[in-house]
């Protein structure tokens, strides 16, 4: 059961790595083209700066989603350095459960935000509506929620194993 969810997580992870490469590559390319156009021909792509800024938004939040998968989010890890592995699992249940709850709330808030923006019908550039870029917020926050959920379930399963193992 957990296996299937983890396989989905892995596929999402691979997709994220590909996306990060494409987005970062485009970001560098467009930024450099903008500089060249500005300095050599004193012109520029009207939508170039907007595109680059939104690419930062996308790479940043996809990066944050990958960080959740790899457990690389910045945290203050004072307690776990000095405590037994058994207690550590208890703490992991608390921290992952809480992170799951907050991320779910953030995802909900992000959905409300995008919904508002759709109704506002604002345009980003070249006729692309703003929500088309902003949609990345609920998507990545949703992925983070899913990943904290996986971690939460895993830490609960671990305590079961410990009990039956004894």
């Amino acid at each position: 059961m957990m296996d299937r969810w983890e396989r989905i997580d892995e596929i999402v992870g691979r997709l994220e790595q590909i996306l990060l490469g494409i987005l970062l590559g485009t970001m560098i390319l467009v930024a450099v083209i903008q500089i060249a156009l500005r300095n050599v021909l004193s012109t520029g792509l009207a939508w170039g700066d907007q595109l680059v800024r939104n690419l930062v938004l996308w790479t940043g939040f996809i990066g944050a989603a990958v960080a959740t998968r790899e457990g690389k989010h910045i945290s203050i890890d004072v307690v776990s350095r000095w405590i037994s592995p058994k207690r550590k699992i208890g703490i992991e249940i608390i921290t992952n459960g809480f992170s799951l709850l907050i991320c779910a709330l953030l995802t909900f808030a992000a959905l409300k935000f995008v919904n508002n923006e759709i109704q506002m019908k604002s345009i980003l550039f070249l006729g692309v509506p703003s929500w088309a870029s902003e949609i990345i917020l609920p998507v990545t926050l949703g992925v983070m929620t899913f990943r904290f959920c996986l971690r939460f379930l895993k830490s609960i399963l671990m305590t079961r194993h410990q009990e039956t193992g004894r």
Binding site: Q17, G21, I35, I76
Partner: protein, 422 residues
Amino acid sequence: MTLGLIILVFCLLMLLGVPLFVVISGLALSLLYLNQIDSSAVIIEMYRMATTPILVAIPLFTFAGYLLSESGAPRRLVRLSHALLGWLPGGVSMIALLTCAIFTALTGATGLTIIAMGGILLPAMTKVKYPESFSLGLLTTSGTLGLLFPPSLPLIIYAIVAKVRIDHLFVAGILPGILLIALLAPYCFYRAIKAEVPRSRFSIPEVAGAVKDCMWELPLPFVVLGGIYGGYFVVSDAAAITAIYVLLVEVLIYRDIRWGELPGIMKKSMVLVGTILIILGAALGLTNYLIDEEIPMKILDLIRAHIASPFLFLIVLNLFLLAVGCIMGMFPALTVVIPLITPIAQAYGIHPLHLGIIFLTNLEIGASIPPLGINLFISSIRFEKPVLSLYIASLPFIIILLVGLAIITYVPWLSLALVNTP
């Protein structure tokens, strides 16, 4: 009352190891809920922050930094500085100081320096018979030494959060950064002479060879800084040029990095960017709320009742920031603490740029201070030494750096002399 309880619970969760962005945005969500403001306000701030024009510099510089650290650049940099400085007494330790400083400035002060440079520099130092404890202390504390030099990531983040001009802050850090290195240098000379470290001969062919070896990387600092201060391009342009330049040089000219390795490096660097960005976004939501509620002014009144002089205020500020740097780490401290401190410090008449340099120097030192300074743990893993031995090894360096901090704090001229502001 409820507010105090909520803050207490969140602090507890933070110490248990809940990711900081979760703690911060959770706190923001509950404050919004208590005040019956819609929760999407947090997301609006995140979106606004993530699409700030200057923020483009962060992923681009970070990617370039990761590329450099995975390439042969650290080795070439050490070879060049060895050719130039190896003949001095204490030459090798000076090399370690300088190369670490340059490397941290380029890679953004994220512990990459200790990992990338440490592996080359520690054997180089112990081979010529520097005491091990001295070498470990030097490399541990040097991990953040370049933080005051442009284009380091913490400088950029400070400028964004505190809303000061990045090009001014870049210049402001130069003299204080040189001061810290100049204070450490005599100690390095002294230890080298005491340990009777052999010197190498100065050889012009070796210098020429080393220069030729890194002739493609040498122009980089000049292009970046010359471009910004010559008025040719802004900081985010400099970041884009750095990224494309490093990419071309390391992949096509030196071929240190194969095409196939690029996606992995891109991912690694963007994970770092993501973790910083999401904390920045969450913190902005929280601090905007706190500022609306005039919390900094309330803290200010509280402090004013006890501290009258700016002199005393600066001492308290330093102690507080050292603790914050040691416990919270660089990026969370930058994002959460700055908006609260800035109005208070201004009320005491401290220049925003000077405050920024004080702030960053504190974080730089705090990162090496026991018991929780992050550099100590990175070194412990990198060099496979117990953390306790690193506490002792880095102590002399921390004392010297604290002297530097005192000078930087009470001589604002150092931070402001090079900045052309009225």
